[in-house]
């Protein structure tokens, strides 16, 4: 029982808003935003996510890493007086006065099942699993919707002509937030298309890195164990020294000097 209570306390703690304890007296600038149509005054230096928490929302979804990586916090908004519908990751974007916003909890999409090991590395595979990419009208709406600023239309086009490398390179920073898919008039699920492109390219097209192979082998053999043990044993001052030394070597290496 005691243990269970402990867990519940931990969860309660983790669920606390990061904005808890802000004293309105300390806030210099306020922003007026509209969450699902309802107006709120929030401290102007908060992110959308923090602002919603400040306003009293508690996230049980639409929030994950809080660091711009997981793609859970997709938000759409319009600014007062503008026609453009904009998108953002709530955890990465500051609130602005006059934002009308709502979060999109989920993008419904079915992912086709394929075997990365068995699927032939042929251009036409894209059309086999995602025949709807042929419906793309090049409206560029997906690109405009992407909070990661990716050239989404260009990677859909690359998929259409079977160019795995271009798909992989253009979509590398996709966080699968689903915004593009929700806006596409051709009902394409871009992020599934590009994920297919990346795994296929990673397995079949990406040039093998010999150095990496060597390091993995050495790691498996335990060659770095001693170094790691030493590192973990350093005190604060020593680790700062070690870090500085490592950065200096790296800078020298990047400049083209010796390793």
């Amino acid at each position: 029982m005691a243990k269970e209570k402990n867990i519940m306390e931990k969860i309660a703690h983790a669920n606390q808003s990061v904005t808890k304890g802000i004293d309105p007296k300390d806030v210099k600038h306020w922003a007026k935003i509209y969450i699902m149509g309802k107006v709120y005054e929030v401290p102007a230096d908060l992110t959308i996510m923090q602002a919603m928490e400040y306003a009293g929302y508690r996230f049980i979804h639409s929030c994950g890493c809080r660091a711009g990586f997981c793609g859970a916090c997709s938000t759409i908004y319009r600014m007062k007086g503008e026609y453009k519908l904009q998108t953002a990751m709530a955890c990465q974007t500051r609130v602005e006065c006059g934002m009308y916003l709502v979060q999109l909890p989920f993008s419904p999409a079915e992912k086709p099942i394929y075997s990365v090991t068995k699927e032939p590395y042929e251009g036409n595979s894209f059309l086999k699993y995602f025949p709807e990419i042929a419906r793309c009208v090049s409206c560029n709406t997906c690109t405009k919707a992407c909070p990661q600023d990716l050239e989404v239309m260009d990677y859909v086009q690359a998929a259409l002509r079977g160019d795995f490398q271009r798909v992989a390179e253009l979509s590398f920073d996709c966080i699968q937030c689903g915004m593009c898919a929700l806006r596409c008039p051709a009902e394409i699920v871009q992020y599934n298309v590009s994920q297919f492109g990346r795994v296929m390219y990673g397995r079949n097209g990406f040039p093998e890195n010999k150095a990496l192979k060597k390091v993995v082998k050495a790691t498996e053999k335990g060659e770095y164990k001693k170094d790691f043990k030493n590192l973990l044993g350093l005190n604060m001052k020593q680790s700062k020294e070690a870090y500085k030394k490592q950065q200096a070597t790296k800078a020298k290496f990047l400049k083209g000097g010796k390793k």
Binding site: G123, A134, V137, Q157, L160
Partner: protein, 296 residues
């Protein structure tokens, strides 16, 4: 070498690589450098015949903007956009015409594409066959190094080079442009009355039986007049007339397979270019036994 903006289209980058490579090599002999436009997008493949269906014109207009940009940067010597695939030719040219005729619609499209520079109009679309005609068939003749005289080939136009008449690159009823080219490179040209009959086009997806029937008619009509091979400029016609021969054979057991060339594969042969530009591996019916028989 004259530099012209070039639109490859999706198929030429995959199953139609034999067409692209042989065309680029052919053009080079003729003093033309095909500069692939960057960030091109699929033309949309089929023109929307609904006049106010503007969203389906956007794809082509974007490609015209690329041509405009290449000209502004001074990278090319031509305001025309060159295509090889007949389908792309048809779609791009139709849209180019519509945009020329309907400035209001162009305005609307420009307004919609708020992240592109405006398309100012004026980009026209040409097919490689038209450029060749422009140079003059005598010029072609002068480049021929290898005789293809024994090869009996029938040109197949299909629909998209000839219809509707606003986009036709030749007389839609009595086209001669392919015959003229084939004559210039010394091929024995066989005329066939079915040379501009539809091959079934997209019916190949939903209704392959129709395509098999049409293919059989087209091939046999040419064969009856002595043809040993067909020649085309369309990857979809090539697929329907060539790959579907497997199904024709199932329905007509005596049917003999007939190779289908891209016209640029024949020019590449006649100009004596390196064999690999023709990628004959990608032709569904291997034409090499026929070429060997004819000692080409």
């Amino acid at each position: 070498m004259k530099k012209i903006p070039y639109y490859p289209g999706c198929t030429l980058k995959t199953t139609g690589k034999n067409f692209e490579d042989s065309a680029i090599a052919t053009a080079k002999v003729l003093g033309l450098k095909l500069l692939e436009i960057d960030r091109w997008n699929c033309c949309g493949t089929v023109t929307s015949l609904t006049q106010d269906d503007l969203i389906h014109h956007i794809a082509s207009v974007r490609n015209f903007i690329r041509v405009q940009e290449m000209n502004e940067r001074g990278e090319v010597d031509d305001y025309r956009l060159l295509t090889l695939c007949s389908m792309c030719y048809n779609t791009l040219k139709s849209v180019s015409n519509v945009m020329q005729e309907r400035p209001d619609d162009l305005d609307k499209i420009n307004n919609f594409m708020d992240r592109e520079e405006d398309y100012k109009g004026g980009v026209t679309v040409v097919h490689l066959l038209e450029l060749i005609r422009e140079m003059g068939f005598d010029e072609i003749k002068s480049k021929v190094k290898k005789s293809l005289g024994k090869l009996k080939v029938s040109p197949y136009y299909g629909c998209t080079l000839l219809r509707p008449k606003e986009v036709a690159l030749d007389d839609p009823e009595v086209p001669t442009i392919m015959e003229d080219l084939l004559n210039a490179i010394g091929v024995d040209v066989i005329d066939s009355p079915k040379k501009s009959m539809c091959c079934g086009s997209y019916q190949t997806v939903r209704n392959p039986k129709t395509v098999v029937r049409l293919g059989y008619e087209i091939i046999e009509s040419a064969r009856k007049r002595g043809a040993e091979a067909l020649v085309t400029s369309c990857p979809l016609c090539a697929f329907n007339l060539d790959d579907r021969q497997k199904e024709i054979k199932l329905e007509h057991p005596d049917f003999e397979r007939m190779p289908v060339f891209y016209f640029t594969q024949l020019t590449a042969l006649a100009f004596g270019l390196k064999k690999d530009v023709n990628n004959f591996d990608l032709n569904f019916t291997d034409p090499r036994p026929l070429l060997k028989k004819k000692k080409i």
